[in-house]
Symmetry: C2
Subunit: 146 residues, 2 copies
C-alpha cells in the first residue's frame, strides 16, 4: 500500500528471518530425540573443530551471551561431556575440551544436523549455493561495519 513501508514478504530481511526460523525449527526437531538443544549442539560442534575454546569464545560462536554459555558449560561439565581446568593457564580464560563421552554424543547429533543441512541445500546448484554464501557474507559484513 504505502511506498514508505518495507514490503515484508518481499524483503530480504524478512526472508532471512524466515529461513533462519525454518532452519532452527528443523534442527530442534531432529535434535529433540537426542535431548539436545541447538545451542547445546553448537557448543559441542565448535569444541570438536576448535578444541580449547574459552567460554566467551564459545558464546560468540554460538551467538549467545557468555553468561548463557557459562550455565550450559557448567551443565555439560557436570554431566561429563566437557572438561575445564580448575585454574586458568593464562589470564582468566578456561580452555574447554570434549571428553570421549562428549565426542560420542556429538556424533549422532552431527549426523542429524547434516541431514537437515542437506535437505536445505537440496534443489540448489553449486553455483546457487556459492552465490548464497557470498550474499550472506556480504550482508554480515555490511551490518557489522558502522
Amino acid at each position: 500500500m504505502s511506498q514508505d513501508g518495507i514490503d515484508l514478504p518481499t524483503s530480504l530481511g524478512y526472508l532471512l528471518k524466515e529461513a533462519s526460523s525454518a532452519l532452527r525449527a528443523a534442527m530442534e526437531e531432529v535434535l529433540r530425540p537426542l535431548d539436545m538443544s541447538v545451542t547445546h549442539y553448537s557448543c559441542l560442534e565448535l569444541l570438536a573443530q576448535r578444541p580449547g575454546l574459552s567460554n566467551s569464545e564459545l558464546a560468540r560462536g554460538a551467538f549467545v551471551t557468555r553468561q548463557t554459555m557459562n550455565v550450559l558449560l557448567q551443565a555439560l561439565e557436570r554431566d561429563g561431556y566437557v572438561t575445564r581446568p580448575a585454574a586458568a593457564p593464562v589470564g582468566k580464560a578456561l580452555p574447554t575440551r570434549l571428553t570421549p563421552r562428549g565426542r560420542r554424543s556429538l556424533e549422532k547429533a552431527s549426523a542429524a544436523v547434516r541431514s537437515v543441512e542437506l535437505k536445505m541445500l537440496a534443489g540448489m546448484t553449486d553455483a546457487e549455493q556459492a552465490a548464497a554464501f557470498q550474499a550472506l557474507q556480504s550482508m554480515i559484513t555490511s551490518l557489522r561495519t558502522g
Copy 2:
C-alpha cells in the same frame, strides 16, 4: 579435522544463523531508542500491510507462538496502538487493526528498520540481491517439505 563433521564457519546453515543474528542485533539497536522490540515492530508492520490480521496470523508472520503474540497484543491494545473487537465477527478470530497512534508509532520504527535493511544490502548488486532472494526461498521450501 574429521570429514564427518560440518565445518561450521563454512556451512551455509551457520552463515544463515550468523546473518540472522547480525540483522536482529542491528534492528534491536535502532529500535531500542523507540522502546520497541523486533517482535513489537513486526506486529505493527504486518498490521499496516494487512489490516485485520488475527492473533494467530500475526504470530505466524512474526515467527512466534500465538501465546506470545497474544500477550503482546494485549499490551498494544491496552496502550492504544491497536484495536480488537470485543466479539469475533466470525469464528473465534479477532481482526486486529492499527489505531492512528499505532500508525504514528510505526512510522519512525519503519524508517529506522529501512535504514538497517539498506545498510545490509549495501555492496550487493541487484543481481546478487535477486540471487540471495531466490536462494533463501529455495532453502525455506526445502526445509518445510518433508
